[in-house]
């Protein structure tokens, strides 16, 4: 049956699809919350990298005390906007709160990086091996993760940090590296399970079977078909795992583990400010706000990435 020439002119029920990543990017850019989150994340990154320079140049170094100033306030912290140059006020030792919050941002972003690096380094190989080989290997690996999972996170981190506090590793970065790695060590399980799940299910899908049937070699199957599908959820998991890491670090700092003075983790700032909460709530409020903003930004960005990469999962219509 010959088709008529007008077949080419007729409106056809077809939509263009421009490839997985372009489509995802388009969807992401339509999500305003995700864009806000993304901008904040970039901002935090900038502050983390250039913070000390900015505060030294335009404000005050984060560990510089100014007792003469606080003396004018009866030895108490300086309120925000009360003195020029101290935008958010100071603590009881006259240290610029904004500068200290910048330092906290640096700590938090470093936490995010280091923890996720550890998570990826441990989680992906374990998950991939378990998922690809399946069977007994998968079984033993999963039991191993069950054991790690059974351990209450915070306790494990505390014990770990205490055990290795005196070693060279424990002293790196003023003890911070140890804390970060410890947080990573308890956090990799979700990633491993994710990767394992992806590989297990994708291994058996019809399009892999189809690829094999056409004669595509295994290696290409993995690189061209399996990995691109797995990368999406991995990126989402990394982004959504960051708030947990930041929170863990803040909590530890709050009870005195991790950042030591004069470093100013947001958690330790809140701890310091606790006693002044009645008269000088800014000492608690601003670090808390910083934590909230950081957490929200990564959460929005992560949610946006997830919706962008798999719109089927989207709840809203």
């Amino acid at each position: 049956m010959a088709s008529t020439t007008t077949a080419l002119e007729a409106p056809v029920a077809r939509r263009e699809s421009r490839g997985l990543w372009r489509d995802a990017l388009d969807r992401l850019l339509k999500n305003r919350l995700a864009i806000v989150g993304g901008i904040m994340v970039i901002l935090l990154g900038v502050i983390a990298i250039f913070g000390p320079f900015i505060s030294s140049a335009f404000l005050h170094p984060y560990n510089e005390q100014n007792v003469q100033l606080t003396a004018q306030y009866g030895g108490r912290p300086v309120p925000p906007l009360a003195e020029p140059g101290y935008i958010l006020g100071t603590d009881k030792l006259g240290r610029d709160l904004l500068a200290r919050i910048f330092d906290g941002a640096q700590i938090s972003m470093t936490v995010a990086l280091v923890v996720q690096a550890v998570v990826l380094l441990i989680g992906i190989p374990i998950g991939a091996i378990a998922g690809w080989f399946g069977g007994r290997i998968d079984n033993y690996l999963m039991r191993f993760t069950d054991v790690v999972y059974a351990f209450p996170d915070l306790l494990f981190i505390i014990i770990l940090t205490m055990a290795f506090r005196e070693t060279w590793f424990g002293r790196a970065m003023d003890g911070l590296l140890l804390v970060f790695v410890a947080i990573g060590v308890v956090s990799w399980i979700t990633m491993a399970r994710l990767v394992r799940g992806q590989l297990l299910s994708l291994k058996e899908t019809e399009f892999v079977e189809a690829a094999r049937a056409i004669g595509v070699p295994d290696r290409r199957i993995v690189t061209r078909h399996l990995l691109p599908n797995a990368i999406g959820p991995v990126i989402v998991a990394v982004t959504l795992g960051i708030p947990g890491a930041i929170l863990a670090e803040a909590t530890l700092a709050f009870i005195g583990i991790g950042a030591q003075p004069p470093r100013a983790s947001w958690g330790s700032l809140i701890d310091d400010g606790r006693d002044f909460v009645r008269g000088d709530p800014h000492l608690v409020l601003f670090p808390a706000l910083a934590v909230a903003i950081a957490l929200l930004s990564f959460t929005f960005l992560g949610d946006g990435l997830r919706d962008a990469l798999d719109p089927k999962l989207k709840g809203k219509q």
């Binding site: 049956m1 010959a2 088709s3 008529t4 007008t6 077949a7 002119e9 007729a10 409106p11 056809v12 029920a13 077809r14 939509r15 219509q317």
Partner: protein, 357 residues
């Protein structure tokens, strides 16, 4: 202010019987279902999709009507529109009338519509694996309608459910009332769906591709079940399918749909023996035949269905039609009568005096 059948409102036993009688006598004079100029559109981010465009047809009491067409032609949406189950957003019935048993369905309140569903109109969906609630026993799911619509007690409803279960061919029905859907095979689950749909002895059964997801051997059983039960209870059936063979075996009349419109309608024998629309020919032609020579290519209809977002004012099949002429592209044909009784086709070329014979 609605024309709800009296028997749903009347309280006493006598009154109810009287209303039934009245209903019966009125029924001889009218059709069970009259759909007039039904249009259902979907309002999406990409535009308004005219899924069902100005569709009209009738259905007699006890008749079996086939809605045949390819994926996306609007047959499922038509059925959903009849019970106002079109997902909203983004879909909406934007025009037309649906008169069911003398009642104007589109004018009913939500509550009144709810009373119709299940009780007067039963629905069988395509995928039995997902259409049953996995956390409720099948006995419960069947008895639920009976309890709510017929006012039966728990026990009476369970009895009725067991009866129905056995009637649809589930062995040891009573024992299996307490089982869960995942303990049944696909074919058995579809039988359960049929039991649910028929629980309140509805006047109309809407079967949306009931066998598409099943094995071929099971297909025949399920279809036979639907046929025998509808004959026994006098239930009218609208059978939606893309499979012509199924339509041929089950239906009294057939509507062929394409791109949101009905393009041909008539008695089943007329449609199959004397189709009067090139699309219908194409459908028949594309069926593989036993008497073909091996190695011969299967015949297809070239091209794709049109985009329903802005349907052009031409015959929607024209781009793919080998018989199309200029008039086909300038003006969309109406459904006009053909030789046989109640046989209509939407085609310029096959009209009396046209260029296709």
């Amino acid at each position: 202010m609605t024309e709800l059948p009296d028997d749903i409102q009347v309280e006493t036993e006598e009154g109810r019987r009287l209303a039934e009688q009245l209903q019966d006598s009125r029924r001889h004079a009218r059709k069970l279902l009259e759909v007039k100029n039904l249009s259902t559109h979907f309002f999406t981010a990409d535009g308004v999709v005219h899924a069902v465009d100005d569709v009209s047809f009738e259905l007699d009491y006890g008749e079996t009507l086939g809605l045949v067409g390819e994926s996306g032609c609007g047959k499922s949406v038509t059925a959903l529109s009849l019970t106002r189950l079109v997902p909203n957003p983004p879909g909406r019935i934007v025009g037309g009338e649906i008169i069911f048993d003398g009642v104007n369905v589109l004018k009913l309140s939500n509550e009144e519509m709810r009373l119709l569903r299940g009780k007067r109109i039963g629905f069988i969906f395509q995928d039995p694996m997902t259409s049953l609630n996995p956390t409720l026993t099948i006995g419960y799911q069947i008895a639920e309608s009976a309890r709510i619509h017929l006012g039966l007690s728990r026990r009476a409803a369970d009895d009725r459910a067991a009866e129905l279960l056995s009637k649809v061919g589930i062995p040891r029905a009573r024992e299996r009332m307490g089982d869960y859907p995942h303990q049944f095979s696909g074919g058995m689950r579809q039988r359960v769906m049929i039991a649910i749909a028929l629980a309140c002895d509805p006047m109309l059964l809407l079967a949306d591709e009931p066998t598409t997801a099943l094995d071929v051997t099971i297909q025949a059983q399920i279809l036979e079940l639907i046929r025998s039960l509808s004959a026994e209870f006098g239930t009218a059936v609208i059978l939606i399918t893309h499979d012509l063979g199924i339509a041929a075996g089950m239906c009294d009349r057939v509507n062929v749909m394409y791109a949101g419109r009905i393009v041909e309608t008539g008695a089943v024998d007329d449609i199959f023996e004397k189709p009067r629309m090139p699309y219908t020919w194409g459908l028949m032609d594309s069926l593989p035949r036993l008497d073909e020579k091996k190695g011969e290519r299967l015949r297809t209809i070239e091209g794709l269905p049109p985009d329903l977002i802005n349907p052009p004012n031409e015959c929607r099949f024209a781009p793919r039609c080998r018989y199309a002429r200029d008039i086909c592209r300038e003006q969309e044909p109406e459904l006009t009568p053909r030789e046989e009784e109640r046989h209509f086709a939407r085609c310029h070329g096959t009209e009396p005096g046209g260029w296709i014979q």
